[in-house]
């Protein structure tokens, strides 16, 4: 550890404590939802059972799909097919309809017909956006809160290193048998150190992904204030301009797709596939077809290649490949999205996310423990942090469990006219979370055990309700190699086990001195 002055260490300690206490629970929420987002497609399969389709890698004909789309799509200025993959077996299609609203459909790869899906936001529509922005859309406020938390995370990591006195000697130290304050700090230090590179990379890459949102002036200024031009230069975006009004049929999408992929594969020296087939200004003679390899399976770099072909002739209008520095930035972003096909790494990301949750929770717990048994214990500040910590840790986990259970219990055909079924599930999440905060504020320390038991009960209920409502119970999904659903059910059961163990260990009958506070995360 470099020799630093005591003044500097105190300053780092002050910074670390304040940032941690003020933003800790926001950070926990972002990390928790981020951890789940690693498996967002699998959560989608679980919550939208109609998409539990076996992926057979068959060749899709986008020409044929185009003919089967609703009539609105024929003259839409934006029609986007998402190429199916093993984790997203249904074909996604979203297009802008005649009223300017976006329509979202999933197509069965075997027939091309739309699948009548359970109306649910699920992983990709709620958990992932929550991770990005806490789903607070007003004036992008949620993005700014998450961005501030990300910046704070980087400051917390660096300041934490300076606060820690004997990093090398105490790297592997964990003493659960000692007093709760000592044990909590040990666990905080340990969880922070073992995952440090990961915890640094995540906020860094996350902020980089949204650089143009967070630095609107700075990023656009080199391009004369035109952010669209800046983004086009970095990522090869294409604007076809307004429709000319002269109708024209579109040439073969499949031929264009093959051409684009062949072009890219030649440059790369290895097969490159597109992730989307996007038609701009469909049905017009200004139509263009846009291809991009957004999420390659075999590399970390995102969206390196973009090809735009003329809609009528199939001629190449734009052939874009990210230049070296742009590619480096895309590597950093790809390291955040983790959409590539490396399963051991994906699981370690999941564990890393959980480690981050442990780090943040034990940080807040240590703050509380340091002030226990003193006058501060009754103060409003302490009680606020206490309620926020309990509600923000076990509370959000319980709310997530309630979200899953609500998904299985709310009838599929509920709210048919208003289409609010998906929103109802989300409202259950917010309601249970609110109740958790109130519960924590009233019961204080006793709330930990009760919320742990709630998590256990909800996790078991989720598995049971999946089995009852879809018939895909664990025995069946394991035997049928439906890994997404089996994996979700297994993780839910493991969660229930850990939560129950935590509930027992946290029972009020334990004397505080012997109490080791395990983290009731998955």
């Amino acid at each position: 550890m470099p020799r630093i002055s005591e003044d500097f260490r105190q300053a780092m300690n002050w910074t670390h404590t304040w940032l941690g206490v003020v933003l800790g629970i926001v950070l926990f929420a972002v990390f928790w939802m981020g951890t789940l987002t690693v498996f967002a497609p699998e959560i989608d399969r679980w919550m939208i059972p109609e998409t539990r389709i076996a992926y057979d890698g068959r060749e899709i004909s986008y020409d044929r799909l185009l003919t089967q789309l609703p009539p609105d799509a024929a003259t839409s200025d934006y029609v986007n097919f998402v190429v199916p993959t093993e984790r997203h077996p249904a074909i996604g299609i979203f297009y802008r309809d005649s009223e300017g609203a976006f329509q979202n459909l999933l197509l069965d790869p075997r027939t091309g017909a739309p699948i009548s899906v359970t109306d649910s936001h699920a992983g990709s529509g709620f958990i992932y956006p929550f991770h990005l922005s806490l789903t607070i859309e007003w004036q992008d406020l949620g993005y700014w809160i998450v961005g501030l938390a990300a910046l704070a995370m980087l400051l917390l990591l660096v300041s934490g290193i300076f606060v820690h006195r004997k990093i090398i000697a105490e790297f592997f130290v964990f003493r659960p048998q000692r007093k709760p304050r000592r044990a909590t700090l040990d666990l905080h230090n340990l969880s922070s150190l073992v995952g440090l590179p990961f915890y640094a990379l995540m906020p860094f890459s996350g902020l980089l992904i949204f650089a143009s949102l967070y630095l609107p002036w700075g990023m656009a200024e080199p391009f004369g204030g035109d952010m669209d031009k800046a983004e086009a230069a970095i990522s090869g975006a294409y604007d076809p301009g307004p429709r000319t009004g002269r109708p024209a049929p579109i040439a073969s999408l499949d031929a264009m797709k093959r051409k684009a992929e062949a072009m890219w594969s030649e440059v790369e020296g290895a097969p490159v596939k597109t992730n989307l087939v996007r038609i701009l200004n469909n049905g017009d003679d200004s139509a263009a077809v846009y291809f991009r390899n957004t999420f390659p399976k075999d590399r970390v770099v995102l969206s390196k290649y973009v090809a735009v072909l003329d809609g009528q002739t199939g001629k190449v209008i734009q052939n874009f490949a990210k230049p070296p520095i742009g590619e480096a930035a895309a590597w950093v972003e790809g390291a955040h999205f983790v959409q590539f096909g490396h399963w051991p790494l994906r699981w370690l990301y999941f564990l890393g996310g959980l480690g981050g949750c442990v780090m943040i929770a034990t940080g807040n717990l240590f703050w509380l423990r340091s002030r226990e048994g003193k006058l501060a214990h009754a103060s409003l500040g302490y009680r606020t942090v206490e309620a926020l910590t309990i509600g923000g840790v076990t509370g959000i986990i319980a709310a997530t469990g309630a979200f899953f259970v609500a998904n299985r219990l709310i009838p599929t055909d509920a709210f048919p006219v208003t289409g609010e079924r998906a929103d109802a599930e989300v409202q259950v999440f917010w309601l249970v979370w609110l109740i958790a905060f109130v519960h924590a504020a009233i019961l204080r320390e006793r709330a930990w055990a009760q919320q742990a038991w709630a998590i256990a009960a909800l996790a078991v209920a989720a598995v049971a309700s999946n089995a009852l409502s879809t018939g895909d119970h664990i025995g069946m999904t394991l035997a049928g190699a439906e890994w997404a659903v089996a994996g979700m059910d297994l993780l839910l059961l493991i969660t229930a086990g850990i939560a129950a163990w935590a509930g027992i260990r946290l029972a009020p009958s334990q004397t505080p001195a012997r109490l080791f506070e395990p983290m009731p995360a998955e």
Binding site: D7, L154, M219, A329
Partner: protein, 104 residues
Amino acid sequence: MAGNRQTAGSQRAPAGFGGALAVWRLLVGFVGGYALVSGFVALTGSALPLLGMERGEALSLASLFALFVYVPTCLFILSTRRPWRNGTIMLMLAAAMIAAAVVI
């Protein structure tokens, strides 16, 4: 962490972190730092093309380095023994970078 009396429930802020100073440090660190980083990205993105780099590449490079400017700046302002002086210097530096970026 033997001897870290700071975390033993002491509520008193260390010297140089009371009231107004704390607010100054936080504002200058976070808000002033934001201005500095915006200026840095704009200036780098505008100046490097003058040396022959592609404009999109210059912008990518600037965005990659942005946090390496923001984080140390924040930590510096939050820990410096001369917050008023250094904070003011930093704000002037931010203004200068923004002005230079607009001019180029």
